[in-house]
């Protein structure tokens, strides 16, 4: 974290309000994102307790598992979730625009352009916190290998029809969330933390309620007080601002949820043992009542978080979108389209473990995207650039002199020497390349010399056209403000990796026989009692 953010944090402590850590919005926000606020059962992996999900702030779908250890109820929850999430995803999958993609011809190895479809927009899912992103991955992992009755009539506990498909999509979103700068699956705490600096540590910023309190304190109070209240205030032993989940507060589990689930279990048992229709009627009423109680409890813990996420979206929308955010979103759209195509062509679900080539590719992509994100955020946002200037990775100033020189050779090209007056102290060596943004593209220059305190001379080497005289506007003039960076604006891909079928033996060889066999579903668990 740069000293500039630290200063912002200290200002926040002093003023009691969060301070801007960015002047533009660095992530794409969909016009209609799907907000997903899941809750999980403590101590169980992949046993959801309930969720609020939907695209309408005023009408979320409430999904509840009244007994999280019951497999059928859990499947019911997942089927309902699939009924909400999949139509949302599919609506985006069907609206396409034509696009071109460069592919390598498998025979000749030549690069050829191929006409393909690109989804005009992609579905965006927003969860409250980073733990929520992990939970989406976990749900994806727990469902994508399930078999439906149609796929495997012998399966002991067939999953509802669309659940494995939901698992594949959630897995894709969870995986994409690991790519820096991607916006398919976003955590609200990360989003807010990126754009505001609060007067608390980044650890405490993981609490959505407290983070939001700093950014948007209630009238008449400071953010610090509101954050403290959000973190700790309790009534009857229950937190006033429930944690954003998916984990619940132990006090809630023990005092409210456990008794309610127990009542539900008892009512179900009683109904199962009902002797005649009349008694069954009453018992059914009791069961419905018990179920409603659990539903109310789950809603009471998710609704504040749901509102907080939407409030956060509202605050973020007030920031203007960064200039290069759209370009990164296009990459997300490619990712979305790619997964859509894999699903449609009937490929099997993502494997439990990636093969060597896929894993290496993913890692390389993440590194590349991180570098791209760092560069683009700085170019989009003067506040981020200020941090890079402070650390000596960029310098900004005014052009005080331009001297035209030419390269030697048969066809002399313009190589103007530009003298910049700056207060910055960049780490420059001789002939170090520097870049500036010229109409969205990077123009390269070489550092020539330091002509005095804060006086730097650079030689511009490209983007001036083909003629002897540089094209108008391609060379800065005296008095122009300029900003050069020491980092590149565009990221070049690394060396190409071999195709998976050419994996060398040092890396396990081509995915062979065991890879060809479809991954087996998880063994049924004995936990599913009742």
């Amino acid at each position: 974290m740069s000293l500039i953010t630290t200063l912002a944090q200290l200002e926040a402590v002093r003023t009691g309000r969060a301070q801007p850590a960015a002047t533009v919005r660095h992530r794409h926000l969909s016009a209609a994102p799907l907000v997903f606020v899941p809750l999980t059962t403590a101590g169980e992996a992949g046993a959801p307790l309930g969720a609020l999900v939907g695209t309408d702030r005023d009408a979320p779908h409430l999904l509840v598992v009244p007994q999280p250890r019951d497999r059928d109820l859990r499947f019911g929850f997942l089927a309902e979730l699939a009924d909400v999430v999949l139509p949302y995803l599919e609506a985006y999958a069907d609206a396409v625009e034509p696009a071109e993609r460069t592919e390598r011809d498998s025979g000749t190895g030549a690069r050829v352009k191929v006409e393909v479809e690109l989804c005009a927009d992609a579905a965006q899912i927003v969860v409250p916190s980073r733990a929520g992103v992990e939970y989406v991955r976990l749900l994806g992992r727990s469902t994508r290998f399930r078999r439906t009755a149609e796929q495997d009539p012998q399966a002991p506990h067939p999953a509802p029809p669309r659940v494995p498909l939901l698992g594949r999509w959630l897995t894709h979103y969870g995986e994409r969330a690991r790519v820096p700068g991607s916006s398919l699956l976003l955590a609200m705490t990360d989003l807010l933390g990126r754009h505001w600096a609060t007067g608390q540590s980044t650890l405490e910023d993981q609490h959505l309620g407290a983070l939001l309190a700093w950014i948007d304190p209630p009238a008449g109070g400071t953010g610090a007080e509101a954050a403290h209240r959000a973190e700790l205030a309790r009534e009857d032993g229950q937190l006033l601002c429930p944690p954003a989940g998916p984990a619940t507060d132990p006090a809630f589990d023990n005092k409210l949820l456990a008794p309610a689930i127990e009542r539900y279990d008892r009512a179900r048992l009683a109904l199962a043992g009902a002797e005649d229709g009349l008694a069954a009627d009453g018992l059914l009423r009791a069961l419905t009542e018990a179920e409603r109680e659990v539903r109310d409890l789950v809603e009471s813990r998710t609704r504040p978080t749901w509102d907080a996420v939407w409030r956060g979206l509202e605050l973020l929308r007030r920031l203007p979108e960064g200039a290069r955010v759209e370009e990164r979103w296009t990459r997300d759209r490619w990712s979305f389209t790619g997964h859509r195509d894999r699903v449609r062509s009937g490929e099997p679900p993502q494997p439990r473990r990636d093969d060597a080539v896929t894993a290496a590719n993913k890692l390389a992509a993440r590194e590349r995207e991180q570098a791209r994100l760092d560069a683009q955020e700085a170019l989009d946002d003067p506040l981020v650039m200020a941090g890079r200037r402070l650390s000596g990775e960029a310098f900004a100033g005014e052009v005080v002199d331009v001297v035209m020189t030419y390269s030697e050779g048969r066809r002399p090209s313009p190589r103007p020497l530009v003298t910049v007056l700056t207060d910055d102290r960049p780490h420059l060596g001789e002939r170090v390349k520097v870049y500036r943004s010229l109409g969205g593209r990077a123009q390269t220059a070489e550092f020539v010399e330091q002509a005095g305190d804060g006086v730097l001379v650079v030689r511009i080497v490209d983007k001036m056209g083909r003629g002897k005289e540089p094209e108008p506007g391609s060379v800065p003039e005296k008095g122009d403000p300029v900003c050069f960076t020491l980092f590149e604006h565009e990221q070049r891909g690394g060396a190409r990796l071999p195709e998976p079928e050419d994996t060398p033996w040092t890396h396990g060889g081509p995915p062979g026989a065991e890879g060809a066999v479809a991954e087996a579903p998880d063994a049924p668990t004995e936990e599913d009692v009742l």
Binding site: M1, S2, L3, I4, T6, L7, A8, Q9, L10, E11, V13, R14, P20, T23, V24, T41, A42, G43, E44, A45, G46, L138, R141, S142, G199, Q200, S201, T202, L203, E204, A224, L232, T248, D249, P250, A251, D253, N254, A258, P320, R352, R353, D381, P382, L383, M385, A386, G387, R389, L390, D423, D522, A523, P524, T525, E526, E527
Partner: protein
């Protein structure tokens, strides 16, 4: 001392607690792992740690019940000695009791289990209820489990040194060795079937050993306190606060995850205007400037030595930040 009730009396109750769902699940899983005389647990230990040894067919399961922690610790030491002397078979100690000196006073520890291998070496077993998904578990949780196991390893080493110490043992039976690879047992994927993995805790063991050696002894802390200080939760909150203030504390956000008094210390640290509540890296970045007021004054040029590199960087940062915000405001005004 009961720090939790102390924190409650101070008006900053600890946020810790365990959900009964997690507790039930954890206990059920541990019972399952240890069921049937620990057959499953020993099978996992054999598979993950000691494939060369004889498969555990008939393991010994000594009774470790005794009165009081001292009694149980002594019983455990005895059982360990017997098991080690009887080489060639597997022994499982279920919930043994170990003593370890922490800051000059004894602390009693209860690992989930300790396995004695046929070669007479000992392994600590940690049973956790977080899942091992496709062979990998949450790194943070594994790290915490490794640190916990490292303390048990240290305590076991003390027992081992003790057993080897007095010359009464059979001649030639060298000191029993504690293995530095512990067995971590977790539920496999989404099931409650156990999966085990060997975790090397040498590094954690070294860190803990160094920290234990460096800890200020309790007597020294007590000696530094004014006469008559008492931490009884029955005292009125004002007196209690004063008593707690008498003990120096160095709050950092990491405390929140581990200490019952963290919220109290955080409140005090914030009230004092310290920068550490923002995080240790922030504190490290600011050199000799430790309070919010000092830093802001230095950044504004009202105080501080301009030749100090930290002060110079702060001023530069403040100027750049102001410039950038002004620039953004101008752009916004044009729109």
């Amino acid at each position: 001392m009961d720090k939790a009730s102390l924190a409650e009396r101070l008006g900053a109750p600890a946020p810790f607690g365990q959900s009964q769902f997690a507790l039930t699940r954890g206990n059920a899983f541990e019972a399952r792992v240890k069921a049937d005389g620990g057959a499953e647990l020993l099978r996992l230990a054999h598979e993950a740690l000691d494939r060369g040894a004889e498969p555990p067919a008939r393991a010994r399961l000594p009774d470790l019940t005794a009165t009081g922690p001292e009694g149980r610790a002594a019983r455990t030491a005895l059982a360990l000695r017997e098991a080690t002397a009887e080489a060639g078979s597997w022994t499982l100690l279920d919930h043994p009791m170990l003593a370890l000196e922490v800051a000059g006073s004894p602390a009693f520890l209860e690992p989930d289990a300790v396995v004695v291998h046929p070669d007479g070496r000992w392994t600590v077993v940690e049973i956790k209820s977080f899942p091992m998904l496709d062979g990998a578990a949450d790194a943070a949780k594994v790290g915490a489990a490794a640190r916990q196991a490292a303390v048990y390893v240290l305590a076991l080493e003390r027992v081992a040194a003790h057993l080897a110490g007095p010359p009464e043992g059979p001649a030639g039976a060298g000191a029993p060795r504690v293995r530095h690879r512990v067995l971590l047992v977790c539920p496999k994927d989404f099931s409650n079937l156990p999966a085990a993995s060997a975790v090397d805790v040498r590094r954690q063991r070294a860190v803990t050993a160094r920290q234990l050696a460096r800890l200020t002894r309790v007597e020294d802390i007590a000696a530094a306190l004014p006469e008559g200080v008492c931490f009884s939760p029955e005292l009125p909150p004002e007196e209690l606060t004063a008593a707690v203030e008498a003990v120096p504390a160095a709050y950092a956000p990491e405390c929140l995850a581990t200490c019952e008094l963290a919220f109290h210390c955080r409140g005090r640290s914030r009230a004092a205007g310290a920068v550490t509540p923002l995080g240790r890296p922030v504190r490290a970045e600011l050199g000799g400037l430790t309070t919010v007021d000092d830093v802001l004054a230095a950044a504004r040029g009202e105080a501080g030595d301009p030749d100090d590199p930290v002060v110079a960087a702060l001023r530069r940062a403040a100027t750049l930040r102001e410039q950038a915000l002004r620039e953004a405001a101008e752009v916004a005004a044009c729109r």
